[in-house]
Symmetry: none
Subunit: 260 residues, 2 copies
Amino acid sequence: MKYKLLENPNIEEMYDLIEEGLRKKAMINVFCCCKVIYEGRALSQLDFGERMILLKPDGSFLIHQERKVDPVNWQPPKSRTRTFIKDNTLFLESHRRSPKERLEVEIKKTHFVNYVLVEDYQELEIAGYEKDMGDMIMKHPHMIEEGFKPTDREYSTEHGFIDILGKDKEGNLMVLELKCRKAGINAVKQIRRYLTDFKEEENSNLENTGNEKKKVRGLLVAPSIGEDARELLEEENIEFKSIDPPKELKNDKKVTLDIF
Amino acid sequence: MKYKLLENPNIEEMYDLIEEGLRKKAMINVFCCCKVIYEGRALSQLDFGERMILLKPDGSFLIHQERKVDPVNWQPPKSRTRTFIKDNTLFLESHRRSPKERLEVEIKKTHFVNYVLVEDYQELEIAGYEKDMGDMIMKHPHMIEEGFKPTDREYSTEHGFIDILGKDKEGNLMVLELKCRKAGINAVKQIRRYLTDFKEEENSNLENTGNEKKKVRGLLVAPSIGEDARELLEEENIEFKSIDPPKELKNDKKVTLDIF
DNA sequence: GTGTTGATGTCGGAC
DNA sequence: GTCCGACGTCAACAC
């Protein structure tokens, strides 16, 4: 089951659902009246009130009040969450090893609780660094290889945006994925998804037109690449080009600002 | 009604529920597959994936992925949220006036959506940071050393605010810089800047008045100090006093008792 | 409003 | 691990 939800659960139901969610590494969401105690780098307490609690599969633990972007209390990723019942009351507890920190949530009344098995393979693309790299390649396509001609930027597909689309000197389609830092396995998976799309298209074109076969080349562009990423890359017949991102424009700007 | 919840809603149902939640200033929670575009101080895009969206009555807008404490995209309090349907697709949009920022969420598939009218009158009581440390020292100056008398708090200088200014039992000026965590090299540099100011002043006073020379002592107060910081400290003849920040809540559980 | 500073900052990268 | 810098930092407070 992809998700599970309970309205006005009793303590045992709620305990079971949260335990199940934790076991399955789901996102768990609790709307309840609770009291919170935190001990660690600082010390805090928050008396009973209605809040939203969010437990993430990476161990993150967030308690949100009705205002502000930041959670009122939280624990970082890799914290360990535990549930227990004491005096007919459900508690959530989160421990962090180092620095030693503890979060304790006493739950009085729950409106509803749910967990969801989340599928999210996308990473945030933020303009700035990577954008600069794209700008540079659009301006100097020979950096990729002789005869490379970029045709599209941020080309939209069903699986997401392709950073740069172009053709090599033979006329083969090239799908470029840019990373401004060391490329990980996710970068390779990403480019693989794009390629799947294009290869399907390519095959149907072939059937229709009988043209001579053009290849679709996947090319990962990054300053370096991780070991696991390299493996998948070779397996999938994707190419890799090592290019450093253009030297920081941000710093230059900041220096200028500091001067004034 | 205190809350409302829909599983697998269709677009119109979802639109209505969110509009109702916005009108009633509720906390709104959406578990869905969505795509996010942000334009403002930076520029970002996040392709389709499953996430949790949280809209708060103060205008805050959070999009949480399955990892990290921080939301992947967000808008701050006082942003204005708008919903609209285009091409049979539901969009959430959030505008901020200044700086001009826009967040656009395209929703593909929603697992469930709910709103809750939250009642939370409590504020976080927190202890263990720099202000508490300053309070403690002002209240118990002997913690620094016998005969220490603080004279000013947040004393303004050309280079910034001195946390605590005072005099030792000999009448020498003391410049205290407080850190509630392990002090790094920056803390030492900071105190060094303040000292430079005072020593210049001291010298000009000497010339003018011919008074006997009083020293200016710099004192870094922190629970501990890093190695590089220690080096610069000794080089600059700045002193160090190890003090842990107080971790006592002011109204220690009294609030709870008062309520009953 | 603009500006400055502290924070359980968080997060990522380098050593 | 620890240290160091960047961040759409956020949020509180002063001016």
